[in-house]
Each structure stands twice: as structure tokens, then as C-alpha cells.
């Protein structure tokens, strides 16, 4: 299989999730955007296509691009499956796609560095339904109010007290932050050790002192819940520290691994951007095909068609960058710059395409609930989260010269 064509397995993923996106996500996307509500019914329905909340732990790592079990000599498919799935789901609705993947953010570090006991505990915390009758979900809590692009200065601290760690601090921008039943929270255990001292902890929602904060009202991806989470002297048994309490020296199970994980998610984030861009482009193309402009077919106007040609070029270029980054990951090649390029280019493309689509549609796109207007709002976060466009360019630039430009 070459990197330019999907093999039957990837085609299958695209077809299955494309159908799920079309039949299940699209019909409720505008409702959840307008209400800024979680798509609980879809979280449940998604289990039928393998998107369970513990899918990553159960060995179905479709959305992460991470597979810690791979034979290092053999190419994998996880990253390519991840980007194909991400594009299809974001085509349906980026907010719902992020809601569906939110628990995976917590499951991924557990899958990578959790003990069997921690994995079992995670499954137990996510079994059954919560007090509202919803399926149980999880959250990963890393970002803090003062720690956005620069993740080395975490303020949340954990101190050892007997057999327990006591966690204190506030987290921000936490996907599923308010509704989660289980949290993987990152805290500094040895301030002197810097990044190496930052460790993850699995914490149950009902642990005293764990207080979900305000849910954010957002510009886009409004079906995905984003909230603050406060840890007010939350006591966690030492067995729930990721990597186990005995391996605290070295950074292999700490923040550095988290950073590696963020690197691994970038192609999938780029793929989501491609999915939104394709949605807006297809909407326009569909309009153009049947439309007339002052009595002549729209498709005969360069004024319109060259814009669509430009969009097509940019979307194709973004998708190729995404697939190259994923292909490299699957072939165990270092893809730091390529992953950043895929993410940054996808972000640029989706902003460009949705912006031009708004212009070409004109007044129509001002109507409440217009899908293109929603995609325009959804697009913006792709240049911000998981490393801003500036951070991606910094990473790429450092690969070019070895220096961090400021």
C-alpha cells in the first residue's frame, strides 16, 4: 500500500464513519451548536460503530493514532486509521467529534503508561450510567489558566502524605471537564525536577475536593463541553499515579510522554480541519452545480469556479500533509515537523475555505443555524488548540535551524 491510496481497511473506516457522520451527526449538529449541549444520545449510539468511551484501552485505538503494542519493525495502521476517522467525523460535526473523542484523551495516557490496576479502575469508573442517566465519560486535565502554549510552568501541585498524593490547583480548557466520571490530572510532584516532576493521576469524580468549575461559552465546537476543574486538596492513593509510584525517577512516564502524545494527535487534528473544510467546500460545490447567476450557470463563471478550484487545491494539499505525517508515524519515522505542518496547514485551510464560503454565500449565511456559518466558527479553534499556529511554526522552524525564533 502506498501513502496516496487507502487500502480496503481504511476505505472501510471511511465508509463506516462517513455514514455515521451523515446519518447520525449531521441531523443534530445545528441543534447541539445552538443549545451548546453535549450529544449524549450520540455518545451512546457511537458505541455501535466501535466508538466506546474505553475504546482505546480495549485495543481499538481508532482516534488516537497511538499503539504502544506495535512491533517496531513493522508498519502500523493506527495513525492512518486515526486521520481517516477524524476527517470523516469532523465532516459530520467537529464539536460532536470532539465530544466523542474526549474520553480518549484520558484513556490514551492510561493506555500508554497505566498499570493493569489503573486500567481496570478506569473501566470500572466508566461502566454504567451517571446520576443523569448518561453514559459515563472521562476527561484529561492538563492546561491551566496561566499555562496555554507554554506547558512547562504547571502550577497544580501534588505532595505525598502517607500512601496518598494530595493534589491542589486549577485546570482550564478541560474537555468533558464538568460531566466526567473519571479524570486524568497532571500535577507537579517535584518542583525542582521541572518537567520530569510532572505526573499523571487517575481520579474519580466523587473524590472529595474535586470541584468542576464553570462551563465555557464558546465561539465554536459547542457540542463539546469545555470547563474548568478545581482540585482542592484532592487525596489520591499512590497506586493511582500513572506509571506506578516506584518509577518516579526519569521522565519516561511523565510530562515528556504527554508531549509526545500531543505530537501524535496533531495529524488527527489536522485531519479534522480538513473534514470541516471539505464540508464547506462540498456545500458550495453542490450549490454551484445546480445554480444560476443572472441566467447563466454558476459553473461557467471563473469568478466562482476559480475559488472552488483554489479550495480544492488547498484541501487536497492539507490532506496530503496529514496523510504523510500519519504514514511516517505508522512507519516509525520521526515526524515532529511533518505533524506540525499537517496541523498548521489544516488550520489555515479550514479558516480560508470557511471564510470564502461565507463571502460567496452572502446574506444567506447570516441565517441562524446555517451550517457554513457554524463551520466558520468551528474552524477557528484549529489554529489555537493542541498548539497554536504560532507554536507549530516554532516547532517547524526549530527543525529547520535548531533555534527557537522569538
Amino acid at each position: 500500500m502506498d501513502m496516496f491510496h487507502d487500502n480496503p481497511m481504511l476505505q472501510g473506516v471511511r465508509q463506516m464513519l462517513g455514514a455515521f457522520a451523515r446519518q447520525m451527526m449531521r441531523p443534530v449538529a445545528v441543534k447541539h451548536d445552538q443549545e451548546e449541549s453535549m450529544p449524549w444520545e450520540l455518545l451512546k449510539a457511537a458505541q455501535s460503530v466501535g466508538l466506546t468511551q474505553t475504546a482505546i484501552l480495549d485495543g481499538r485505538r481508532r482516534l488516537t493514532g497511538i499503539d504502544e503494542d506495535a512491533d517496531p519493525k513493522k508498519p502500523r495502521f493506527q495513525a492512518r486509521i486515526g486521520v481517516a476517522a477524524s476527517e470523516e467525523m469532523a465532516w459530520g460535526c467537529a464539536g460532536i467529534a470532539l465530544a466523542l473523542g474526549g474520553s480518549g484523551l484520558a484513556a490514551a495516557p492510561l493506555s500508554r503508561m497505566g498499570t493493569q490496576e489503573q486500567k481496570d479502575e478506569f473501566r470500572r469508573l466508566l461502566s454504567g450510567t451517571d446520576a443523569n442517566g448518561h453514559i459515563k465519560i472521562a476527561a484529561m486535565a492538563l492546561s491551566e489558566p496561566g499555562t496555554g502554549s507554554d506547558i512547562s510552568g504547571l502550577k497544580t501541585a501534588a505532595r505525598l502524605d502517607g500512601n496518598h498524593w494530595v493534589i491542589r490547583g486549577s485546570k482550564q480548557w478541560i474537555t468533558n471537564g464538568q460531566s466526567a466520571s473519571a479524570y486524568v490530572v497532571w500535577a507537579q510532584t517535584e518542583p525542582a525536577a521541572g518537567r520530569a516532576g510532572v505526573r499523571g493521576f487517575l481520579v474519580a469524580r466523587d473524590t472529595p475536593g474535586l470541584v468542576p468549575g464553570k462551563k465555557e461559552t464558546k465561539l465554536g465546537i459547542r457540542a463539546s463541553e469545555t470547563a474548568q476543574v478545581h482540585f482542592e486538596d484532592v487525596r489520591v492513593h499512590q497506586d493511582m499515579m500513572l506509571g506506578g509510584a516506584q518509577t518516579s525517577e526519569g521522565s519516561a512516564s511523565g510530562l515528556a510522554d504527554t508531549k509526545k502524545m500531543l505530537d501524535a494527535t496533531r495529524p488527527a487534528i489536522g485531519a479534522q480541519a480538513v473534514g470541516i473544510a471539505r464540508a464547506a467546500y462540498e456545500y458550495l460545490l453542490d450549490r454551484v452545480r445546480g445554480g444560476t447567476l443572472h441566467g447563466t450557470p454558476m459553473a461557467t463563471h471563473q469568478h466562482i469556479m476559480f475559488e472552488l478550484a483554489d479550495m480544492h487545491m488547498e484541501i487536497t494539499a492539507s490532506r496530503l500533509l496529514v496523510h504523510r505525517a500519519a504514514w511516517m508515524a505508522d512507519h516509525h519515522l520521526d515526524n515532529v515537523a511533518e505533524a506540525s505542518a499537517a496541523k498548521a496547514h489544516g488550520a489555515r485551510t479550514v479558516q480560508y475555505v470557511t471564510n470564502r464560503a461565507m463571502v460567496l454565500l452572502g446574506e444567506e449565511a447570516l441565517e441562524p443555524g446555517h451550517p457554513v456559518e457554524k463551520w466558520y466558527r468551528d474552524a477557528k479553534i484549529y489554529d489555537i488548540f493542541e498548539g497554536t499556529g504560532q507554536i507549530q511554526r516554532r516547532i517547524i522552524a526549530k527543525q529547520l535551524t535548531g533555534q527557537n525564533p522569538t
Binding site: S143, G148, S149, D150, Q172, W173, E216, T217, K218, L219, G220, T226, L293, H294, H303, Q351, N355, M358, V359, L360, L361, G362, E363, A365, L366, E367, P368, E373, Y376, R377, K380, I381, D383, I384, F385, T388, G389, Q390, R393, P405, T406
Partner: protein, 365 residues
């Protein structure tokens, strides 16, 4: 050539700037969330001379002599800095009032101006059927069918000025005409509405112009509206960078204020160039309208197109500078990004119009 402001213009700028900074910016977050302005907007706006500034003094308004589009552009920029949605409400009466004063019959004047000048103030709105969606059957009286809108201020309006193919007319009493109130993502305070008409009757006395006269009149009305939109858009772009600059000074990442990173300096620098050029183009178009310069319509159209591009880009870049905080409603810039779109979408795409006109010219060359 003189780019300076005279005493009266300076006073307008200062007064409206104070109103925008203190009142509009103060009201904006709640008005945006509620999808409606505070009740105090109409009172405060009236006290500052809005709503009646284009209504002739003889009909209970404040207009004595020629209307100054330059003064309107100057205040529009300041209003845009305050809140685009409330700015749209404060400016909404100008096109209907000027059009009816210029081309209206005595009956049209009485109908509109009585409503606008009544105690408590009235509101009128303006719709340009840029896509040719309306069907108009002209038998002296008009029978109008089709979709109107989305139109800012239409939810509140007692009258609607409509510029359609070959007809400019005003319609009162819209409640019977299937009017629907809507709240789009942008200008949420602006009390938008749409309506679907089915052979809705507009009496002949409310038709302002038909045929070639209508096309000329509509060009004028659109030029007024586009100039005002351009000035307000430049104000929104400018406000976006005011907020972004203040934030970039405070926010420290990697041990330095983010404003000191060259990439963000460039974003701000380009946006400031954009806002500045957009404001100048709007003021030039206003001056051209006031002096009846031959290029007034062209200048207004180009000013609006440019300002639409500028405000879209500046507000997106302001969100970028705020990072994650830019994406949430606790900070002012995501609202500005939503507000930016109406500036280029309202009244149709002049770029397309120019392309088609030029193509027709080449075909005949």
C-alpha cells in the same frame, strides 16, 4: 486637501467615542447574550440625536439642510468600536428617512416620519434584494412576493425600505406580513427579522421610484448604506486590535509578553494598516457623497468591500492573539469575530456586480 476635522466634527467624534467606550461596550456583553439591546439604548441614542438625524425638521426631525455623510462616517467608526449590533440599530433610520425625504410622496413622508417622530421614537429598516429573489407585479400598486432578509432592526421596525429590481418602495405595518424575528450569530443585539411575502400589496403612493429612476435611486441608497457599513467595520477592526494589544501586553508565555513575539507583532501591524485604510476609504466615500463627486458610488462600494475584508481578518487575528481565551465568551473578541460577517454579507456582493458589469462591457467592446 485637508484631512483634519473641524470643531463640529471633533465634537461628534468625542461625544460618540465616550458613548461607545462607556455605554455601548458596557452593554455589549449582555446585549449579545440576550440577543437584544438594553431598553436604555433607544433613550440614550435619542438624546445623542440618533434616529431622527435624517428626518427633515419640517417633519419633526433634526435635519436642516443637507445630510452629512462625513459626520455619519466619523460617528460610525466610533459606534463600530463600541458594538456592531447596537450600532446597526442606531443607524437604521438613516436610509429610509433620506430616501423618503428625497423621493417620497407626501403620503410616504407622512407615513414614515409620523412613525419615526412619535414620542418614544420609531424604527425603520432597509433591505436590498441583491439576489433578485422578489417577484414584483406592478399595477400601479405593487404586489410583492418572496423572501425578505435577514434584515437588522426589522424585528422592531414599523417601516421597511425595499430596494428591489426596478423599484424602490417603503412598506408599513409589517406585522401582518409573516414577519419572523431571528437572532443570528453576529450583531445579536440588532433585532433582526425576516419575512416571506405573498402578493403583499404596496400602495402606489409608497413607491419612491420605478425603472431607470429606481436604479439610480437605489445606487444612491446603497452608497449611503455601504459607506456607513465601511466606517462601522473599520471601527470593529480597530476595537479588535485595541483588545488584542491590551491582552498581548499582559499575557506572558515562555517568559515574555506574547505581544513581543514577532509573529504577533506582524498580525497586529497588518490589522492596524487594514483598519486605518478602511477608515480612510469610508471617509473618502462619505466626502464624495457630500460633495456629489462623480466617483461617490464607486468609492462607497470599494470602501465597503475593503472594510469587509479587513474586519473579517482583524477579528480572526484578534481571536488568534487571545488564544484559547479568544474562543470563549468571557473575553470580547469572539463576539467581534461573529459580528464581522454581516459587514460584507449585507446588501449583496459588489465585487460580483463589478465583475459582471465589466464582463458585459468587454463583450460589447
Amino acid at each position: 486637501m485637508d484631512f483634519g476635522l473641524d470643531d463640529e466634527q471633533q465634537m461628534i467624534v468625542q461625544t460618540i467615542r465616550r458613548f461607545a467606550d462607556r455605554d455601548l461596550r458596557g452593554w455589549a456583553p449582555d446585549a449579545d447574550r440576550a440577543g437584544a439591546p438594553p431598553a436604555s439604548l433607544y433613550k440614550a441614542g435619542s438624546e445623542l440625536g440618533f434616529f431622527l438625524d435624517a428626518v427633515p425638521a419640517a417633519h419633526g426631525g433634526a435635519l436642516d439642510g443637507a445630510y452629512s455623510h462625513t459626520a455619519r462616517a466619523l460617528r460610525g467608526f466610533e459606534l463600530g468600536r463600541g458594538c456592531a449590533g447596537m450600532a446597526a440599530l442606531l443607524e437604521t433610520n438613516v436610509e429610509p428617512a433620506l430616501a423618503v425625504a428625497t423621493w417620497g410622496t407626501a403620503a410616504a413622508k407622512q407615513s414614515l416620519f409620523d412613525a419615526l417622530a412619535r414620542p418614544g421614537g420609531g424604527v425603520a429598516a432597509f433591505f436590498h434584494d441583491s439576489r433578485g429573489n422578489l417577484e414584483i407585479d406592478d399595477r400601479g400598486d405593487l404586489r410583492v412576493s418572496g423572501k425578505l432578509g435577514p434584515i437588522p432592526a426589522f424585528g422592531q421596525a414599523t417601516h421597511l425600505l425595499v430596494a428591489a429590481r426596478d423599484a424602490l418602495f417603503v412598506m408599513p405595518a409589517l406585522d401582518g406580513a409573516g414577519r419572523k424575528l431571528i437572532t443570528p450569530s453576529g450583531w445579536r443585539a440588532a433585532q433582526w427579522g425576516t419575512a416571506t411575502l405573498d402578493a403583499h400589496r404596496v400602495p402606489a403612493e409608497l413607491v419612491l421610484a420605478r425603472g431607470a429612476d429606481a436604479r439610480a435611486a437605489i445606487t444612491d441608497v446603497l452608497s449611503w448604506a455601504r459607506t456607513s457599513l465601511a466606517a462601522r467595520a473599520a471601527g470593529v477592526a480597530s476595537a479588535a486590535m485595541e483588545h488584542a494589544t491590551a491582552y498581548a501586553r499582559e499575557r506572558v508565555q515562555f517568559g515574555q509578553p506574547i505581544g513581543s513575539f514577532e509573529s504577533l507583532i506582524r498580525l497586529r501591524d497588518d490589522a492596524l494598516t487594514g483598519a486605518s485604510s478602511a477608515r480612510l476609504m469610508a471617509l473618502y466615500a462619505a466626502w464624495a457623497l457630500d460633495t456629489r463627486a462623480p466617483d461617490a458610488a464607486d468609492a462607497a462600494s470599494r470602501a465597503r468591500v475593503h472594510a469587509g475584508d479587513v474586519v473579517a481578518r482583524a477579528t480572526v487575528d484578534a481571536v488568534q492573539i487571545f488564544g484559547g481565551y479568544g474562543f470563549v465568551n468571557d473575553y470580547p473578541v469572539e463576539k467581534l469575530m461573529r459580528d464581522a460577517r454581516a459587514f460584507e454579507a449585507l446588501h449583496g456582493d459588489e465585487r460580483l456586480g463589478r465583475v459582471l458589469a465589466a464582463k458585459a462591457e468587454w463583450a460589447n467592446a
